[in-house]
């Protein structure tokens, strides 16, 4: 019972009984592999098909990738929403926040700078700065 008081190590399974729960842990990995293969196959299909609107493929691929990362976290790394896993989830949430800030922030700033460098309207920079 002392184990239940502590946080669980990331990557460890919720149940600690070695003998009784072994088949179910095997099943967890197998389900994870099955779902991950399904999502990967869908990604490769969506990237190559002509059935879908090309503008939507980009978004669909992003959604499929994020879904597959979630599947890996839950079925392979055993991240749960249980109380023993709070520290792991909080660290993960902070990591995801920083990843989002780095990626989205970089793309936003550089796209903005590209837009400012274009001078496509033909107006001088000083005139555009006034507005």
């Amino acid at each position: 019972m002392t184990e239940a008081r502590h946080e669980r190590a990331p990557g460890d399974r919720p149940s600690r009984e070695m003998d009784a729960s072994a088949p179910s842990e095997f099943l967890v990995y197998t389900i994870g592999l099955f779902v991950a293969v399904l999502l990967t196959a869908t990604s490769f299909w969506a990237a190559n098909t002509t059935l879908l609107w090309p503008g939507g493929v980009f978004l669909g691929l992003a959604v499929l990738a994020i879904a597959q990362m979630g599947i890996h976290l839950v079925f392979f790394l055993h991240i749960t929403s249980g109380p023993e896993s709070t520290n792991n989830v909080l660290a993960l949430a902070f990591g995801v926040l920083i990843v989002f800030v780095v990626v989205a922030g970089t793309m936003w700033i550089v796209a903005d700078m590209n837009g400012n460098m274009m001078m496509s309207s033909g107006a001088p920079m000083s005139m555009r700065m006034q507005h």
Binding site: R5, D12, F26, G32, A62, M69, V89, A91, V102, G105
Partner: protein, 210 residues
């Protein structure tokens, strides 16, 4: 929201808090520290992903991703890494139940699949360099080789680590410190697979889709 719910459950269950229960076991502390390292590693990859996304169109008149990438190779690489992540999970099950044969078998398959992935990637790199698509050709290719090469470097380090761990299992058996290191290795290997999901989506699939 989930975190708030989890915190509510702790107070209602009225379990002794972690501080009352004393310091956490070393396995939990070690794995948590390694988890923090992995998250910082993923943040480093996020910076490489961001630079790739910014530079992907800066081909300087050189070859584009759609001309260079071969989807069949990428599909095989993806399958290798995904199945190796699965066998790595099965290996950690064998480690937890102290089955030597299962551990060696899982490690062997994981190593073989990881080595296949790496050799396919190196062959892809050398064929690209052979047609003049070197890292110094364009900003796009610099970003590509940095991002994908950094992931490949991680896989290579993982293969060395796995070999060292199997030597340790052979020499020390399933000592507590060996089990902790094996737990860290499986975390590392699963995290590499998560990074690869980002790589094959952002670099290869978004790069070739119309």
């Amino acid at each position: 929201m989930n975190v708030a719910v989890a915190i509510d459950q702790i107070s209602e269950d009225a379990l002794p808090s972690a501080s009352e229960a004393g310091p956490a076991p070393k396995r939990i502390v070690v794995a948590y520290g390694f988890w923090i390292f992995l998250l910082s590693d993923i943040i480093m990859f996020a910076a490489l992903f961001a630079s790739y996304a910014v530079l992907v169109r800066s081909t300087a008149g050189g070859p584009t991703g759609a001309q260079l990438f071969n989807q069949a190779t990428v599909a095989i690489e993806t399958a290798c890494l995904l199945v190796s992540s699965y066998t790595c999970g099965l290996m950690s099950l064998a480690v937890n139940s102290r089955r030597r044969l299962g551990t060696y078998l899982g490690a062997l398959i994981t190593f073989a699949l990881g080595a296949t992935f790496l050799s396919l990637e190196l062959r892809e790199f050398s064929s690209m360099i052979a047609i003049g698509a070197t890292p110094q050709r364009s900003a796009f290719l610099s970003a590509f080789f940095t991002l994908v090469g950094c992931h490949g470097l991680h896989v290579a380090l993982g293969l060395i680590w796995l070999t060292v761990m199997m030597v340790q299992v052979a020499v020390f058996g399933f000592a507590a410190r060996v089990q902790r290191r094996l737990l860290c290795f499986s975390l590392f290997w699963h995290a590499l697979d998560i990074v690869w999901v980002g790589v094959f989506t952002v670099v290869y699939l978004m790069g070739v889709s119309p």
